[in-house]
Amino acid sequence: MSETSKLVRVALAGVPNAGKTLIFNLITGARARVSNWPGTTVEKRVGYRWHRGYRLEVVDLPGAYSLTAWSPEQEVAARFLVEEKPDVVVAVFDATNLEKSVYLALQLLEAGHKLVVALNKIDLAEGLGVEVDHWELSRLLSCPVVPMVATKALGLRELLDAIIDAYERGEKPAPPRYSGLAGELVEKLEAAVKSEESLGSLSSRRLAVGLLENDPYSLSVVEKTGASRVKRELEEARLECGGDCSLVVSKARLDLASSIASRVEKRRAAPLRRLSDLVDAAVLDKHLAVPVLLTVFWALFVFAFRASEPLVELADSAVASLAEALAEALPESALSMLIVEGVLPGVGAVLALLPVLVFFFLGLAVVDDSGYMARVSGLLDPIASRAGLSGRSTLPLAVCLGCNVVGVKAARVIPDARERLAAILAAPFVSCPARLPVYVAVSFAVLGGSLAPVALMYLLSFLVVLGVAAGLRRTLLSGGLRPLVVELPEYTLPAIVNVKNFVVDRTADFLKKAGTLIVLASVGVWALLSVGVPEGGTVESSLGARLASVLEPLFAPLGFDWRLVLALVSGFLAKEVVVAALAVILGVGEEGVIEGLREAMDPAVGLAFMTFVLLYTPCVATVAAIWSETRSVKWALFSIALSLLVAYSVSLLVYAVARAMVA
């Protein structure tokens, strides 16, 4: 490294939909290191860029309207700014929605950050007849403002220059001044903070405002140092506000933001009826909303599962011919068996899933980026809130009907980390098509081929999903669900970079984790079914059969014998495997499964078996997806434990009820 290569730590902040992700991608060339913020499941993206001999380390903070810790995301952003003290903070502004952007910027200035404003979407604002006077904005906020059109990469150079200039200048901006009561309170408290020597190292303004806004960090600092004059002043201020000063401060900030926004916005024409308003009039219409919503969901499904079909078939046949070729080429040995019968089916399953995933992410990214997703969350919120979820969770859960893996990955559109985790953990309980053959086989074997039990499974699935989500949201993952106020962004054409990134990131991550886990699990199950079996012997003497016999007493209350248990063990790999495994275990061909099942179960056991298949871990790929989405082995294991527990207890209940009804 040369002598001038200094590291400049930059944080990107901004309200949702301001184009923060796009600007991050522009600066870093879309090469981000993705990890989790310590102790959370909130995604952390860090990227780098060289400019004028400096190495910029850019951290993408979660989008938020304020620094108040409403959600884990906002908490993360607030904590990072306080603890890591980035050299420069870039506030990404949405020129079509200035007031909210200014509000956040005021908070950042108050916290004493060196601020550079990236005034994005000036083209859209102009289209709406609004010109933003960026010189005036810069004067009022006392920080540099760079006009940008991120979708066209306009203003990037200027932004990078402004960041370096701000860094080199080194002076802190002047914090905003409020009028009225809020101004007085802040001033008095700031004076008290300044008089306290033990608080000397901290920004007095930041601390004063933090105290008035009940910020836990500021309160704990004062508590620790026992600054008595500050405490006294705070008590007095609270009395003056009628108990809580936070509202007085937020309101003053909102008023200031509003006045700054109206001073810099130059309307060239009377505000037009925006195109977005016209679209919304249809999309959110009392009668049209639901049909439109269903059409969009349906189109996504068709796109993901039908458009990808040729590729899925291609992957399938490629794996099949590879298996054939290998079987011929390799000498018959345990190793070749392992590869052909153990590894390849697992790898094939992942490969066959891949086109569906890619197509689905593509569709989802477009729906999300266009602004429609925000509408969905508004429309479906009343229903989802009963399970402690918001409207955003409904799409991923609906997607699970097509494939749990895809649904888990789709949970990415849920902004709140705790809610997202609850949805991810509830997702495996949605009945996917892979379970259907089991329902059908059992129904034909012992339930007279009736469709009623199949329908019952879907009903049960619905109830369990709601129950699990509601249960988790009331216990482990509570909080975060707030009165519904969603901002509806202007509809826009999706940015290609965003869509590409969304698809590539998700897919690569999935392949990395799913690949390893699925191969391992495939080999494991293959070993269970083949180790210990002598030449020409049956599966009965295998390691798996012995294991299943050990487990048999545990499953006796459900009426499962070792054969059903062994089928469930192999079904952990994927539910598609269960029927085939039953055929092998029962010693019949796949056509004879129904006959074979009749001998292994009665109607009550059949219902309990279907229930168990519905509710226990759907497949290794889902576990892998949960692992890669939460970036936590702990939650993946928790999901397995939870699903086994739920499957066992609900099956037990179903079995008992069925027995009672038969008797």
Partner: protein, 72 residues
Amino acid sequence: MARKLADIEEGRVVRIVNVKCGNGEKRLLCEMGLAPGRAVEVLLKGSVVVVSVGGSKLCLSREVAEHVIVED
């Protein structure tokens, strides 16, 4: 006359006089632009209420709109 935001007809512009909820929620709504003294235009009313305030468009659940008191 004071009325609930949920009862205002589409197309009308009203002023918020009060938000009836806890302090935490009040502050959250304030950060989203809904605070006493602010002018709100009702754009759409259906299963949700869509309003325009301070240059941005917000979608509120009916429950929230029931708790926002406005006047003409």
